[in-house]
Symmetry: D3
Subunit: 276 residues, 6 copies
């Protein structure tokens, strides 16, 4: 993740939460002594966004805040483990607290959930990827958390990947035509992916040389048939309603990629405290 790009976002998040200033802290504190603040896990989690996100929030407020310790992103924290230790003026620590916590609770939540999906497919040749079902305005951060959790990223936005869906196919008349249109205009650096709903569509994709074939909401039996039919001639992505309960079975069908919207749209926030 690029600190250069992140700072602008953090400033917007801080402005949202600070408004015209922290009137409580301004009123209550007559001095502004240095304090040490500690972020700690209240439940087991995968650390994500410690120094680069949570620490950075405070440094955007005041460059003199020092990150004294940060658990490495990707490390697994037990309940009670210290995630981050900061030192800085008390007012800056208090002003940044909520934004920092809101961010890392979400990022750790996503990394933790991703890690669970990844663990469930251990030993198989399959990637767990995210989708574009992210919180608006937070995609760069949430996709980072997926990588931290051991997942992979699907396309970032509509311009860095091609995914031909049912509506595109319907409008074009056929998968072949849609794929040919795409191949005639999109950069050669980008693979062409097509969403399919049945084996007939899978066959059409193979006939016109689609690079990636997505099996959308197929049953396990049909997926297995599709994987066989494709036989390595295209990458195969399973998609649609994947849960912790179903991911292993799906992986065992032999697909190359499983994309999971839940990683980002429904991961519960991790419970993290900040204390002095």
């Amino acid at each position: 993740m690029d600190g250069f790009l992140l700072d602008g976002q953090l400033r917007r998040f801080l402005a949202e939460d600070i408004g015209q200033g922290d009137i409580t802290t301004d009123a209550v504190f007559t001095a502004n002594p240095e304090v040490t603040a500690v972020l700690a896990a209240r439940e087991p989690l995968v650390a994500a966004g410690m120094a680069e996100v949570a620490g950075r929030v405070f440094q955007v407020l005041n460059p003199e805040v020092v990150v004294e310790y940060a658990m490495a992103d990707g490390e697994e924290a037990a309940a009670g483990a210290i995630l981050l230790r900061l030192r800085g003026p008390v007012r800056d620590i208090l002003r940044g607290e909520r934004v920092a916590l809101n961010l890392v609770q979400r990022l750790c939540g996503i990394a933790t959930l991703t890690r669970k999906y990844v663990a469930l497919v251990a030993g198989l040749q399959v990637q767990i990827t995210d989708t574009r079902k992210t919180s608006p305005g937070l995609r760069m951060l949430e996709k980072y958390a997926v990588r931290v959790g051991g997942g992979r990223n699907h396309r970032f936005n509509l311009s860095d990947g091609v995914l031909i869906k049912d509506n595109h196919i319907a409008a074009c008349g056929s998968i072949r035509l849609a794929v040919e249109n795409a191949r005639a205009t999109v950069p050669h650096t980008i693979r062409i992916e097509v969403e399919t709903e049945n084996l007939a569509q899978v066959q059409e994709c193979l006939d016109c040389g689609a690079d990636i074939i997505m099996l959308d909401n197929m049953g396990l039996a049909e997926m297995r048939q599709a994987v066989q039919l494709i036989g390595g001639r295209a990458l195969v992505e399973a998609s649609g309603g994947v849960t912790l309960a179903t991911v292993r079975q799906i992986a065992e069908t032999g697909v190359d990629i499983i994309s999971v919207g839940r990683l980002t749209h429904s991961a519960p926030a991790s419970d993290i405290s900040m204390d002095f």
Copy 2:
């Protein structure tokens, strides 16, 4: 919610998702016919953000998109119910789809969960409120969804409410001093709220005339004692780890307000589809 303020946010969200342009749609469609798109509930939910948010996403892309029908925000939709029907050029509908869905799935999720909390305290004189534990950059929208679900809003940011917490008290030396400092500087339009952890602190708050007393992570028995002790001399807010399982009991202690972080930080997204 203020459309004037929302549009700027929607433009940022769209830019994040569109990047340099929707290369799939641009490649596949040679024409740009008008289509009708329908958002429908795939599970029971409370509608939130239909015309003003989801519909607006498409109109920001193209002012000619027409909202033909929108379920009123706050209405309860059964699985399968139509939430929104739009008419506009197919390219604009496709470009806006993901942002619109990402937003309303989250907003309906929050409204739906809020409605559950509110229902559980039916018949009691208590408000269910949100907290500042919102997704960074989405606070205005998420607090709107809480209101749609029947909840109330706590302070929006650090400058429109006073909340004296443990760290403030520790730094000041006493609740009294903190409250006096606050009363000496904050606008008279804003009430002074103090977070307490035990009955002794509640008594201190009463002694110095705090306007609102937050009972933070207290047990039910202690809460009941606190409500009795306060006896209407201040508003009483219960806070800390409130769940659907505990909210009714907490409400029955007689508190005036129950603030629930889960409303926004962990509401699962509602399942909503978009079809042509």
Copy 3:
């Protein structure tokens, strides 16, 4: 005032004044030696915005500019007194001069005028507050100057305070209905204020439990009656055309708050020079 929020404003102000660059200074100076610049009061004034605003202007241009001395905000300066002494490259000092002076002349003007109002009510239990009648884009700074001068801030914007005015009442049908509507939706952290024009309206406010009653443009006798009628059951704010000539008499009616638009909309700029 929050340096984090201020910097963005200062950059805009500097861009407005610098345009494409200071062509005079660029043309005339072949070198860029360090100089010491001094801001001094040309008339008695209350210092406001010295290190944090004026000094910061130059540091935004060049972080190497050093503030060697700054009179504390709130201190009273005699004519001729040094307010700020800076050291930095001559080009940066010259480029920032006009913006720094335009800001502090206004802020000192506001602080100085506020101090006069406050002095006139010395010994009485009354707050002098500002209004929303500030220069567009400068509210955070102007409200800061009011605090520096010893005044208090009224609500900052339309979302952090409730003020039910004549138009609201007319549209609602009654004060009671308007107050009840407000109480049913606004955060519990915010008091409800109602603007009244006569004693009948004051009574209505009392009947429905308004938290703050504004006496708008009432005569002194009527104000006194209103204060008596209210009898401590609500905060009382006097408003409307308050001048240095009338503020003491108004205060002596027993009101709790006097809001004064003149503090910000018509304070004459303080006369301040910058010399090398």
Copy 4:
């Protein structure tokens, strides 16, 4: 003034005043009926910014607001005169009221004061101009108000005019050198102006062909001598502490331009009401 440039500013001003939304209006109004609102002069004034600024504020909030009547900018309004009549949804009118009033009260104040200065020099060949002593962020608007009042604009910013001041001269060693440096680099479209404090400096300016000579804080007698000495070989600008009491005498010395900081930094706001 350029509507294209103004809209961005108005949006910022509205965001400052509206915050997260007008909670009073949102709470009180259940419907949003069309109303007619009228801005009227409470004292004699020169109208400035009526349709293009005040009217535009409301249209930025809601393009459906209609300006039914606007007094032409520059026209003199008697106390009680109607300045602007609008029709639009009540909520938009109320949300925009304060920003619109804050702007036009300032603009009319500047135009009215400018008109007084201009009237005092009637019959003489002299221009009354503003300076860069404007409210940060409001320069385009305030300079517009000066033109509406009959004044002229001095340079807008540091890049569209050359003004060699005492510090420049001191640093360069001589007026000649400073002027030659400037002539060697600044665009040929821009005249070179030099600030002088005595007749010797005026003579130096003439010797090196300065285009405009500013007489800074000179007495009337010395100004007269300077005008004679210059004898039409350069434009002559008087500057420094010009008041309504002194402007006529200064003009009668024969100078071409009188620049008046007071036009913008200390004009009292005009008193304007908005009623339904």
Copy 5:
């Protein structure tokens, strides 16, 4: 190209050129009559950016400007041909003229040059693509012009394509390691491209399964050998100093893609006039 994204850029370009307003036009025109303006080619060119860019410039200034005729992008215009005919208020036409011309002269210049390259490889199975050597801030527009001219786009930015260059290889130790690292982290939707300088490196790429092999600044003979060696197992891109004189020979080596920096960094502006 996405009008939604373009408008923000056009506003910035207009603000750069208009500054505080068009003082000449404002001074000279007392009225603002409708006029018809015509953009015409002064030399043969490929039209690019007519209605969507040039026309849009004026509509951003004033939505009432009407595009009465626009030559389709991609069409070849003879000297003298009318490219665009607009109708609108004279002030808006004059204010937008320079920005509109600066844009379309550049875009037509790029499209025209691209067309020449494409024509020279007619009949061969090869794509002419652009590079990232575009004018900072204008990439979306310049890449659009390349497409209009018949060229294809290479990656848009550093996040939507992988290109492993000499520095990456040196730092990693081997092509194999670099490719494996990339394959382990980048989205499956993106192909992996490696820059090679000799046949040994080409062989390394084949050994580790690179998707695209760039032949950087190779001679024709070596290119031919590389194409043979690769034998369809990867896409082949020729790059480096390609000119109109050399492009055909390069294409005849059998490469799939020829990327040409000159398309954007050195295309001379097309000569286009605007008249009333």
Copy 6:
């Protein structure tokens, strides 16, 4: 050029090129060692934008990047000459490379071409100036490069210079009226320039006292006559299709200024390499 203003532009340019992050570099580099990078001229050129622009690009990404050597702007570099030597973390150097090169290749191209024009008029009293025919969004930088090359700047934008063109004259009815209108409103610091197409118009300009007379697309003989006719009563600017082949002859007609659009709209990029 003002670093304060430049940084914001550089951040936008970097965001355009970096997108969501440099996925190649992030994937390939496991460490981030310090490297030394060198920009070198591949052909003779005039250095422009070395430390302040190219160096600054990298420092915006990471303030710890050190510029170890930079050729002074304006110096002539032979092919192979080192222009800039930087030291910093390899990832930051790679991320900034393209933007830095795109900028300096353009700036050096402009400075180099300007130098050629200036050299061709050596010994004559004439200025070579640019025009407003710059790349949208890059005017400040491109006009800086013109100065570096020894040229002068014409007006920066529509508000810091007056240029009455054929359309203005046609709309006004006469040159005299247009000049009088301009003189009645534009700041006294700005000269009035009129575009003329023949000697009759030149005479009209003289009759009404235009400050600068532009001879637009006149032949050499007519230019000479115009210069004679004007006889020093106004500055004379030649404009229109000036090339390296014609500039000397034009200068010898005795004009004061020659404005050359080619300096910015068609200067070929200089060839510059970056190596470790």
